[in-house]
Structure formats: C-alpha cells, structure tokens
Symmetry: C2
Subunit: 322 residues, 2 copies
Amino acid sequence: MVDIASAAGVSPKTVSRVVNDEQGVHPVTARRVREAIDLLGYRRNGLASSLAGARSSAAIGLVIEDVSNPFYGAMARAIEETCRQHGRILITASSDERPELEQGLVQTLLERRVDGLILVPAARDHTYLRAEIERGTPVVFVDRPPTGIVADTILCDDRGGARIAANYLIGLGHHRIAIVAHGPSVYTADERVQGALEAFEAADLRVDPGLIRVGAYTSEDAERVVALLLDMDNPPTAIFATNNRMAIGAVRALHARGRALDMAAFDEFELADLLPVQLAIVGHDPRALGRGAVDLLFRRLNGDARPPQRVVLPTGLIPSAR
Amino acid sequence: MVDIASAAGVSPKTVSRVVNDEQGVHPVTARRVREAIDLLGYRRNGLASSLAGARSSAAIGLVIEDVSNPFYGAMARAIEETCRQHGRILITASSDERPELEQGLVQTLLERRVDGLILVPAARDHTYLRAEIERGTPVVFVDRPPTGIVADTILCDDRGGARIAANYLIGLGHHRIAIVAHGPSVYTADERVQGALEAFEAADLRVDPGLIRVGAYTSEDAERVVALLLDMDNPPTAIFATNNRMAIGAVRALHARGRALDMAAFDEFELADLLPVQLAIVGHDPRALGRGAVDLLFRRLNGDARPPQRVVLPTGLIPSAR
DNA sequence: TTGTAGGCGTTATCAT
DNA sequence: ATGATAACGCCTACAA
C-alpha cells in the first residue's frame, strides 16, 4: 500500500480511501491510484484491515454436524449465500457430533475473530460460550437448542411434525408402529420420539416398548435395528424414522427382506419418492433454517439487543407418492 | 496480551511464548501466565498473529460448484478434515458454476491471505490466476483442469470410466444408447461423452446424433431431455448419464412413463441401488479427490517446487444391484 | 529463561 | 481533498 502511495504520489491513507470506495477523493487522484494498483498488482490485505479497526473480520463461523449430509449441505449453502449478501465469508467446520471437537472448532473460529457464530450444537453443555456471548459475539443455534445457556435459536417443529407423521400412520390403520430414532440425547431425536408417543397416546394406542429403538447413528445402524424389528415374533406393521439416515436404513432393511411396511420419516431426501416403499415425509426446509439463522445473527450484528429469540419453523407432511 | 503480561508480571513476549507452546519458558512462569489468561479471559487474536509474520493465515480457500450437491459435499468434508490435520481451517464458497462469481470469490479469498486455494473451476479462463500462482500462492484444481494456465490438478479418469460404462451397456446387447450429458463446455461432460463415443466406435456401433443430448444442468433438465428421447420414433434402449443429476433426472423420466431402460451413470449416489431401474454406476470417490487435492497443496506449502502435477484417479464400474 | 525493539498492512483521528 | 500520526495485537530477531 505504501508502494502504491508513492507510485501514485499520494499518502497511504488516500490509497486506503480509494480501495474502500470512500467518498471525498478527487476522481483524478482516484484514477491515478487505481492505475498504480493495476500496474503493481496490489491486493488489499483483509487481515490487516480487520486488525486495524475495521471492527469486522468479514467472516462468519459455522459449525455443523457434517457438510456431506445433504440436509446440512443444503443448510450450509443457504447460510453461505445469505452471508455473502451481507459481505461476509463463511468458515465451515464439521463437528461430527463430537462435543470436544465442537468446542475446539468454536475456539479456533473465535481466535480468528469471526463476526458471529452459527452452530448446530453437538455438545451437551454450552456454558463455555456464555462469556463470549456476553462479550458481544452473536451466536445462533440452529436445528437444536443450546444446553445450559439461553441464546438465539431457530428450530423446526420437531414434536408437531412427529405427531403428524404418527397420526398419518395411525390413520392408515396401524396399531404397531415402530420408532427408529437417532440419538440418544440428541434434541431432535428426543422431541420427535415424544411427538410420536403423544400421538399414540391421543389415539389410545398401547405402546410396545420393544418397538421403540433409539440410538442408531448411521443408516447402517438403522438397517440393523430394523432387521431386528422385522425378526420379532410380533413385528411392527409400520415404521416412523426420525431422520433421513434412519429412513434410508429402514428402507434398506425392508428391501433386503422383501417387506414393504408403511413408513413415515423426517427429512426430505432426494429420490425418496422413487423408493419401493410407502414413505410419507415430514418436510422442513434446511435452507429456511439456514436463512433464518443468518437473519437472527445479523439482527444482532446490527445492534438488536432484545432478549434471546427462539424461532420455530413449521413442518408439513408430504404423503407417499405411491 | 499486554494486560496478561502485566497481570502475570512478565513481558508480552513471554505470554506469546506460552500461548504458542514455545519451549524455553519456566514451568512456573508458564503456569502464572496461564492463570492470568484464564482469569482475564484472554483469547489470542489469530488475525494479528497472521499479520505479524506468522507467515501463515492458517486458512485454505475452497471454491466448489455447490456444497449442497452430495458429491461436492463429500469432497468438501474430506478437504476440511485433511486441512484440519494440517492445522488449517477451511473457507468454503460455492460458485454455482458461474465464472464471474468464481473470480470474485477467489479475489475475496486472496484478500484474506489464504495459504492456498482449492478450486473446482467454473471459469473458462484461468489466466487471471497466473500472477498469483507465480507470486507463490499454491492453487490446486480438482475434478476439472484449468484453462489457459498450467497448475496442479487432480482428476478422475472420466474418459476411461465412460468407456467402461458404455462397454457395459454394449455388452448387454444395446445398439441404441442415449447419452444424457451435462455441460456443454464442462470438462467432465466433454470427456465422458468422448469416452462413450470411443467405446461405441470401438464396437462398430453406428451413432445416432439424435441420441446425444448435451447441456442439461439440473436433474429437472435431464428429466425433460429423457422424456423427449423416450418419445422418439426410434427411442434408445439404454441410457448413459454423465453425472448424478443426469442420472436422477433420467430415472425420474423412466419412472414417470413406466419404462425401465438399462442405464449406466457417473457418480455414486445414495440409494442408487434401490431405484426401480437397472443402473450401473461409474464410481469415483469424491473424498479421495479431496484428500489428493490437499496433499498436492501441502506439498507446495512445504516447498515442493516440481513442475505442476496432474494426478488422475481411477474409476470403476459398480454393476447394477438388481 | 526472559525481555526489548521494530514492524506486519491497514485504518481512525485529527490536522491541514 | 489529502496527509501525518498513532494505534490494532502479535511475531521475528536480537539482546540480556
């Protein structure tokens, strides 16, 4: 920048003004500066800029479970684009659902002085963030609420969606509905199980505890779980899967055994409608979650000081296509 | 940092040493410093650190077509993890296959002084990167080679994979094989079409130009294209799709019309084996591409000065599961 | 083992 | 409209 300044015969501050499109620079001077910039191949140093009082690092940090999960991939994409509209780049990291990793990643992001943080929490305790939030760093939780602190959060209506899904299966005449849930101790899983149980209860269905299987993580886990369910003496006649991985595992297990139970599942996923089962989907838009999170974040960055918000997006049933 | 220093009764430099785990600090002093850090809630400023000559911004930039595409999502995930092993965070941006956007994103990343750049190129001309590369910023191209410059590149064997796919369909006895390709003027598409045509020629198949449809982008595009193919007077008896979106669109079109042509397609995608068509997949591992790209990048960062490398990963056919 | 000096590239503030 | 000066928070290089 000093080089440019002397090449253009001005002070560094004037170069700074030109580079940042500040007003109050004579057009002729500005052009001279720009020519020098092109000539010398100068490129502004964003790090120095952030350091020197630009009071923004122009970056947002995102910690999600796994970018390669299409659900989170779509969310990440929406967040990235919305951040770009706000002049921010996105630093993304996958926590793989591991609490220590989440905390380490957050630490790294804060060291880089991101302007804000968007988290799909994996940790079971977020008190470690309290100090940072009080210091003024906006933090938004997506898809699951934080534990141990109160902070801006955007969720979808897990419980309501699960009720709808369960009612759908009940409406088809099923009495023995298995629940294949991820988790345990993952908010979305717990809520969705609760929602289904509420629906069962409201319909006076007796619940067989053996039909409730919580704790699979991968679709392979779910496949094994469903295989076991199908082998029961008194197997279920329908399945509610709490997320896309559970659903895929269940479909695989059914397919492997040539069975075709009715199913309902959370999370839209590509090709769900072409699968060889009756599968109703509880849809919720990951992009809407992402955009909502960014909105919350930038409200804070723009000075909004209301108490922490909790936004709940609706879910809706997409009936089986078959 | 100055505050910590005075609180601990040492100089800032000693705090710096402690924070960076440098050797040569008396354990007692170190503990005193750490206590002050905990007490005052100090957090190192990574931006300042990078500025001050740490000769690394500890960040890598990634520009891909679309994180929400599972193929690129898996690649991004592998890149992120491998970068983390090298102590770097990842700044990810989606170019949406738009050249101007790619260039803008690259510009932004360079302003942030990323240590290196990994690109799935969308632009048709990468001469704009030449100066930066000569200046010493390592740039690696993934999935598609650059145009107009020579640089480290990692690809998969598009042409070979396409030949294998085409031969598979030919081996099933097909003479009228449609090619549903993305693009046009996307390297992978062109190569895959060429590979298939080579196989046709080697098998003395007469090629009907009407069966070669290049230029769809979304799976919806592909669905329409295949619908048109099926409506031909003399429709194809098999389909080769050049990527996952093309494959999905084709499957949808077949399904909508109750047809079941044999298919071969590039890109593994979840549930492909459960679809109601004979579908052989040309598999290539996006994670391997990602890891390979990071390897190339860090070789350069570690001083490797060989001429630009071109790595080609093999592809293999996964026959239809049905 | 610890400290001092100087500077990284930019911007805020206050002058001119 | 433009410039001088002093940070920003840290690190390298050298000294003690």
